[in-house]
Point group: C2
């Protein structure tokens, strides 16, 4: 792990760049808002830790009432359990032989659940659990619209649920029903409609399974873009929002009922960059490129400055162009960038630098950075 880019107590302008900086006041408001929304909506919260990869943040989420966290890899789940979280759901299929063993070992140390969409994989999970003398909770992942992993809703899900329930070291623990593609549908009505369509498929599948006499103890899913909608259906027990803690430019493009930008969560996370070159009046170069931020969902945005546009990244450089009216930034000036996509951006950093006002208050290790 790299050394931290700051020390506790220093002013923000002395933080080495590039660095991930977190406005703690804003972050705490985001945490509280989802916790309040969960209570209002009558669903449990199981925030996704793939966003922050940081057990310190996961424990803050637990302290506000989350029942556990979601992870996407066994390595993340290990980092969370070792960092003090005792209830983890891996919202993914785990297939690699060594990773199956690591997962089952972890299930002897904490409450661990995993998803499956294949009977052969369920048998491999059962064999490993038996070898370790463990019991593993397994959810059936259902394809509710994302067309990624998951069995089709209805009968294929029932068949797999029954196969899991018949295996002695597995416990059929419900349905994973996450519609990833719905999270970034910009229009409010279309986004809600996609989420409710997912809920309908999940609900019908749950009814089919329970009609066959198999208890379906939970339906879990939803994200920062749709968490308000799935609970309307009465189908979901748990919501899995993750990005709400930080937000990013991509989520910032979602629209609310009135057609304005969504606003229930605020941007708390930025990439602090320094201008390293000002080759001419129209542009400058900052020290944050592909190795400090991810452009998979679009370019980062220069915070609070519509006259400056981050137009392209190379490995260690970012190019910012200025509108004609702008003075621009000179070498040594600091720029705050809103990440295009927070999850893969966080995964490029070893430390989250938490600040309040103008001073560094916390240095949190991104313990699951690179944890496959």
């Amino acid at each position: 792990m790299m050394r931290p880019p700051a020390e506790i107590g220093i002013p923000l302008e002395e933080v080495e760049s590039p660095a991930l900086i977190l406005d703690l006041d804003t972050f705490e408001r985001n945490l509280k808002r989802l916790a309040d929304a969960g209570r209002r909506l009558g669903v449990r919260l199981r925030p996704h830790a793939k966003t922050h990869k940081c057990p310190v943040i996961a424990r803050r989420q637990m302290a506000l009432g989350a029942v556990g966290v979601c992870c996407q890899t066994v390595g993340e789940a290990e980092a969370m359990v070792f960092g003090g979280i005792d209830d983890v759901l891996v919202t993914n299929e785990v297939v690699d032989r060594v990773k199956v063993n690591r997962l089952v070992s972890l299930a002897k140390q904490a409450r661990v659940a995993v998803c499956a969409d294949d009977a052969g994989n369920a048998e491999a999970l059962n064999a490993a659990a038996a070898a370790f003398g463990a019991r593993l909770d397994v959810l059936v992942e259902v394809n509710v619209g994302a067309n990624r992993c998951g069995v089709e809703p209805g009968r294929p899900a029932l068949v797999l649920a029954e196969a899991i329930a018949a295996l002695p070291n597995l416990n059929f623990a419900g349905l994973q029903a996450y519609h990833g593609a719905a999270q970034h549908i910009r229009d409010f009505t279309e986004r809600r409609s996609a989420a409710l369509s997912a809920a309908k498929k999940a609900g019908a599948t749950k009814a089919l399974i329970e009609g066959a006499g198999l208890p379906c103890e939970r339906v879990t899913g939803a994200g920062t873009g749709t968490y308000r909608f799935e609970p309307e259906s009465g189908v979901y027990d748990e919501i899995q929002a993750g990005s709400y803690v930080f937000m990013d430019a991509d989520y910032g493009h979602n629209l609310d009922e009135g057609g304005g930008a969504v606003s229930e969560f605020e941007q708390s996370l930025h990439i602090l960059a320094t201008v390293v070159s000002r080759p001419d009046r129209a542009r400058c170069i900052v020290n944050a490129g592909h190795k400090a931020l991810s452009v998979d969902s679009g370019m980062p945005v220069v915070d609070g400055d519509e006259g400056a546009r981050y137009v392209g990244a190379s490995d260690e450089h970012g190019k910012i162009e200025f509108a004609e009216s702008r003075r621009g930034f000179d070498p040594g000036e600091r720029v705050r960038l809103v990440p295009g996509h927070c999850d893969p951006t966080v995964n490029l950093h070893d430390w989250i630098v938490g600040y309040r006002g103008n001073h560094v208050e916390a240095l949190w290790p991104v313990a699951a950075r690179g944890a496959f």
Copy 2:
């Protein structure tokens, strides 16, 4: 740092995925081919370590005759010096106050050079060098076509060179003249022409500086896409190719004289992935997405299988679609992916798993992973 995904001696099929795997025979051929080319072309080699971020590999390059390595960040330079490399050129501007101090401290432990394109930055470098009692080699970065950092060729470069030479703790050490945008021009003749245009600008600038009575001890630049061309000009003393050790899908699209794919270097690096889901006959999902590979220069390519196409990544998933005639891959099967862009992909991993034939022979830490 994460635990390695393999142990020395195990067969390749037991490596945990996703993992960066390196075919050592191919890798060694690549190393030797550039070393031979450097001798043939009459230029020194200073390979770019931003590609591999691995001092073990840098020492292999030195053993074959490289005079030193290039780095892009101070953190990389530290990792290289601490890993046994005693001559490092930072091919970039260093502006952050703490990073300037780290750079100057390093210059007391090894031969360290850095680039500048701004007189104010040169003064800051000089002040730090004076405070540490160090002397620092500084190259003027010249914009030879990339339109990123760098002063314009000719008089602006002379003015900055003279300013650097006048500062007591700096040594004007030559010109950094790298045309990044030329590296991936597909057509051979156009690529050569862009490289020679860069060389012409660098040559004229060098002549101007020497004409003013200031020795210009080296001109350094070039990359894997153009290293054959710059030396034709007689202007360049050093070439900085980096990607040649691994290669990637993007470089694989460059064309040679005859219009075929370039072939002097072979693909030695792959991302080993596992199929985690086979939702239908037309596609499968592998466990390598944005957190295991970078898509900034295009999608990875399924190695040796034209009937299988990696069509999209999400954070932890990759979607592969099959041509109709293909059987496809089932859960548990392994897939080798050619990274779209090797540098930012390597930066996502803590270990390079080196194999020969079918067995793991080496586990090399990516010591400068995340080193800003």
